[in-house]
Subunit: 212 residues, 2 copies
C-alpha cells in the first residue's frame, strides 16, 4: 500500500510533522447528506423513541448514515454517573448535545430521543451547533394519552409519589415556542409522523430521496 | 414517499406501537468496514495526533467512514467541565471511551489521540467494547525526543514547575504490557507508522484495501 501525499515532507522526526486533517465538509461529502441533529422532545410516552426509530429505519433504507441516541445507550454508559436531580438533568442534556455535535462533525444524521423538558436546555444545544444543524421536533401528545399508554409504568409511580419531579405530573414540560417540526400526535399514525419529518428533510436538503 | 414496512400494524395510537431498530450490525453493513477504536497512547509530543490524522486521511481516501477524537474537540466541548486533577483525568478517559463506543455502534472507525498514561484507564475502555473492537496503539517515542520537539511548549512549563503532574516529568506514563500495535517512534517516518497500522487493519479485516 501507499500512504501517498499525507507523508510529504515527513521522512523523519527531525523535521516538523505536518498535520493534515479530514474536515467536517469532507465527511459530509462521504456520507452524501447534510449532517444534522433531529432532536425529538416531548413527554414520556409521547412516542419520541418510536417515531425516531421509524425515521431512522426509513433513512437507513434510503442509504443515509445515521445514529440514534436515547436513554438506553446514554444513561447506562456516558451518563451513568448522573442522577435525576435538576443539575444532573441539565448536564445530561448538555452532554447529549455535545456528543450530537461530534456526530454531526463525523458526517452523520443523529436522532435524539429525550424528554428534554426545559426550553433553555434545548436552546443551549441549538447554540452548540451551526445554523440549520439543529432540527427540533416536538411530539405534542396530550398528557392523558401518554398517561394511558404508560409503557414503562412511570406515570403510575409518579402519581403514587414514588418518582419525584416527573415531567407532566410534578415537574413542568415547557413547550417550544418556535419549533422546526411540530407533530400533533393526537391520533396520528407513525406513517404520517414519519412522512412529515422525511418531507421536511428533503425540502431542506438534508437528504435526497432515492427512488427505487 | 412511502414509509413502507416500518408502519405495519400502527395506523393509530390506540394500539401499541412496534419499535423497529437499526442495529449495530446494520450500520456496519452500510459502512462496509469492521467498526473499531484505534486508541493511540503515548507521551505528549510523541506523534499520536499527527499519526492518527495521517491514518484517518488514508482511511478516508480508501472510502472508509471515520472520526477522530482528541483534546481539541473533546476538552473544549463534552469535557469542558473537567479539570486536570487525577479524578478528572480518569473521567476524561472514561467519557472518551463511552463516546468511542457510541461511534463504534454507529458503524464508524474512531481514532482517539489522548496521552492516557494509566494502564488501568485504558483497560477500562477496552472492557467497554467487544472483543476486537479496541485496538491499542502505543507510540513509543523517547522522552528526550518528545521534550526536544515540545510543540506546545508544555515540557518547558512542566520543567519550570508551572504545570503540575505532567506526564513523563512529574507524573508517570505506564507503558502497555501487551499492545495491539507497537510503534517504535525513534526515527520512523509517518509513512512507515501509517503503513504498520493500515497493514494491521487489513490483516485483521477491519478494512478492505481498495486498489485504484
Amino acid at each position: 500500500m501507499v500512504c501517498s501525499e499525507v507523508v510529504m515532507n515527513s521522512k523523519n522526526d527531525n523535521i516538523i510533522w505536518h498535520d493534515t486533517q479530514i474536515t467536517k465538509d469532507d465527511r459530509a461529502v462521504r456520507t452524501m447528506q447534510k449532517p444534522c441533529v433531529l432532536w425529538f422532545t416531548g413527554l414520556s410516552g409521547s412516542g419520541k423513541s418510536t417515531i425516531a426509530n421509524a425515521v431512522e429505519k426509513i433513512l437507513y433504507e434510503n442509504g443515509n448514515f445515521t445514529y440514534l441516541l436515547d436513554g438506553d445507550n446514554v444513561r447506562h454508559g456516558l451518563n451513568s454517573d448522573l442522577s435525576f436531580d435538576e443539575k444532573s438533568r441539565v448536564e445530561n442534556i448538555r452532554r447529549v448535545g455535545e456528543v450530537s455535535k461530534l456526530f454531526v462533525e463525523s458526517g452523520l444524521i443523529v436522532l435524539t430521543a429525550f424528554i428534554s423538558p426545559f426550553r433553555e436546555d434545548r436552546e443551549m444545544v441549538r447554540t452548540l451547533l451551526e445554523d440549520g444543524e439543529f432540527v427540533e421536533i416536538f411530539i405534542d401528545t396530550p398528557l392523558e394519552v401518554c398517561e394511558s399508554r404508560d409503557p414503562k409504568g412511570l406515570y403510575k409511580k409518579a402519581r403514587a409519589g414514588e418518582i419525584k419531579e416527573f415531567t407532566g405530573i410534578s415537574s413542568p414540560y415547557e413547550k417550544p415556542k418556535k419549533v422546526d417540526i411540530y407533530i400533533k400526535n393526537d391520533n396520528i399514525s407513525i406513517e404520517k409522523a414519519c412522512e412529515q419529518i422525511i418531507d421536511y428533510m428533503i425540502k431542506h436538503s438534508y437528504i435526497k430521496w432515492r427512488e427505487d
